[in-house]
């Protein structure tokens, strides 16, 4: 078992775990985004997907153990390596730093994706905690939300301005994180080839942008108004945003203020 210990303790082994768990979490992002995109297909498609997923308890348990396990390992090693890396510089830091990578000029504050992984990672961790409270543990949900179907639930959570802002920022931060992380994982796992690496790096950046836009798009999603026409649950809790229950009128009321609806999830 010493090889297992070495995996978690040697510098290269730690990067294997970091890269492996990172790629697994990237895979999860893809599945998650694909599922979420069904929101655009309407309540029926999304609800049947969500219900099917939740009926399969065994799959759900395995997936959740895998996800939480990967996340915890990823975060644990982030702490370990970050503190080792800080210590490795020694007591005195440079008074001046400049990148030598052609086309990149960084300072110590280095605001490039690859130099801010720890910061973006920490932000994502905070976001995931909130996201789980919103959707999984439903900490802030009122009775109406608890009783609502998955589609309406999503609409209710996303109707709050605070959530719109936080979810949009989080989507961008996740995009930045994976734009370096995806390609970096390949390098850490030794999967580098002069011929394919430029492609992997491009895919990584495209993936980052896709994640940011894909997840970020849901804050502009008008499901709240659309489902308002069909679901009495939303009607009760956020009547002010729905001046009319007629589908046509609801679509017309595009500038419906989101502020009153903010009170729906008590954040």
């Amino acid at each position: 078992m010493s090889w297992l210990l070495a995996t978690l303790r040697s510098s290269v082994g730690k990067k294997f775990v970091m890269g492996g768990t990172g790629l697994f979490l990237c895979f999860f992002l893809v599945v998650h985004l694909a599922g979420n995109l069904l929101l655009y297909a309407g309540p029926d498609a999304y609800n049947s997907y969500a219900n099917k997923l939740h009926e399969n308890v065994a799959l759900l348990i395995v997936a959740e153990i895998g996800l939480f396990g990967a996340m915890l390992l990823h975060i644990y090693l982030a702490f370990v390596t970050a503190s080792e890396n800080r210590a490795a510089r020694g007591a005195t830091d440079y008074a001046m730093r400049q990148s030598k990578i052609p086309g990149r000029v960084i300072h110590v504050a280095g605001l490039a994706p690859d130099t801010t992984m720890y910061i973006t990672g920490a932000l994502i961790f905070g976001y995931i905690a909130l996201h789980l409270c919103d959707f999984k543990f439903e900490v802030f949900a009122d009775a109406a939300q608890l009783a609502a179907d998955p589609y309406t639930k999503a609409a209710m959570v996303l109707s709050s301005t605070s959530r719109k802002v936080i979810y949009a920022i989080a989507a961008i931060v996740v995009g930045i994180h994976v734009s370096h992380g995806f390609a970096s994982a390949f390098q850490s796992l030794g999967l580098n080839h002069p011929k394919y690496m430029p492609t992997i790096k491009t895919i990584s950046k495209v993936f980052g942008v896709a994640v940011a836009i894909g997840f970020g798009s849901f804050v502009t999603w008008d499901g709240q108004r659309r489902c308002g026409c069909e679901s009495p649950a939303t009607m009760e809790t956020a009547p002010t945003t729905m001046p009319s229950t007629a589908p046509a009128a609801a679509t017309e009321s595009a500038p419906a203020p989101t502020t009153p609806a903010e009170t729906v999830p008590q954040s």
Partner: protein, 273 residues
């Protein structure tokens, strides 16, 4: 001291790190230099500074140098926050003063890493690299006389890639420029060089486990794939070799008796914690 040989000369302000020894606290000291020829190398400029300091009865600035032609890897300065100065693929000794402009302020610092303690001023102790080499960066077979060159066939790709790694001069700029002070590029250069040649193949598992173990116990940082090392490396060693090091490590750790039994790992591989 007529050091302005040709037309163009520079007046410079230098901020130099001065530190008596490892136990003392260091500090920046400012110096002014007048009439530095643009034809001079950076180290020649420092020679002028030291002559000036000696004349003033001050202790000269200590800095490492030897070949002064870019092959030994002894020179090592962080110049305005860049390892070996602003040029890519260049050692400090090959850097010329024409890269600077009149009146410029130049900040000169030693390599900064816990594993490279300052000995004096700009000189750091890089023997951590020697200990990493001793942990496996060699081929320990008796080769006897030089064999017939064509009796050991090596493909052109392997040979070129091995030599691309072998060009490492062990200067430590990779460590100095890395935000994590990681020595991965140096170790990768050595491992990748020998792993691709038949002479190095028999010991490849022991080599990579031993060298990574020693690197970790010297308390260098972990690689986060920012590629600053590659940009700072005067020999142009590519981070592709780091990926090969990672592959070698995986093969050795999970696919060799040494790795599976945990030899070479427990003694040094877990050091530093």
């Amino acid at each position: 001291m007529s050091h302005s040989t040709t037309g163009k000369t520079l007046n410079l302000k230098l901020r130099v790190w001065r530190q008596k020894d490892n136990a003392s606290r260091g500090e920046f000291r400012d110096y002014a230099l007048v009439g530095i020829s643009t034809e001079m190398s950076f180290l020649e400029m420092l020679d002028i500074l030291n002559e000036q300091l000696l004349q003033q009865g001050e202790e000269p600035v200590n800095f490492d140098h030897d070949c002064r032609e870019g092959i030994c890897g002894t020179c090592s300065l962080m110049i305005n926050g860049q390892a070996h100065g602003p040029d890519n693929g260049t050692t400090t000794c090959q850097l010329h003063m024409r890269r600077f402009h009149d009146g410029q302020m130049i900040t000169i610092e030693p390599w900064r890493a816990k594993a490279f303690p300052v000995i004096r001023d700009l000189v750091v102790d890089r023997s951590a690299f020697d200990r990493i080499i001793q942990a496996g960066g060699y081929v320990s077979v008796r080769t006897g006389q030089a064999p017939e060159a064509n009796s050991v066939p090596i493909s052109k790709n392997d040979q070129e890639s091995a030599l691309d790694a072998a060009v490492c001069i062990g200067c430590g700029a990779c460590v100095a420029s890395c935000k994590n002070a990681s020595a991965m590029l140096f170790v990768a250069a050595k491992v990748s060089h020998l792993a691709q040649l038949p002479q190095g193949a028999p010991e490849r598992a022991a080599r990579v486990l031993g060298m990574v173990g020693q690197m970790d116990s010297e308390e260098f940082g972990n690689c986060t794939n920012t590629s600053e090392c590659e940009a700072a490396c005067p020999a142009g060693v590519s981070v592709t070799h780091i990926a090969r090091l990672n592959r070698e490590y995986a093969k050795a750790l999970y696919g060799s008796p040494l790795g599976l039994k945990g030899e070479l790992l427990t003694s040094s591989g877990t050091g530093g914690d």
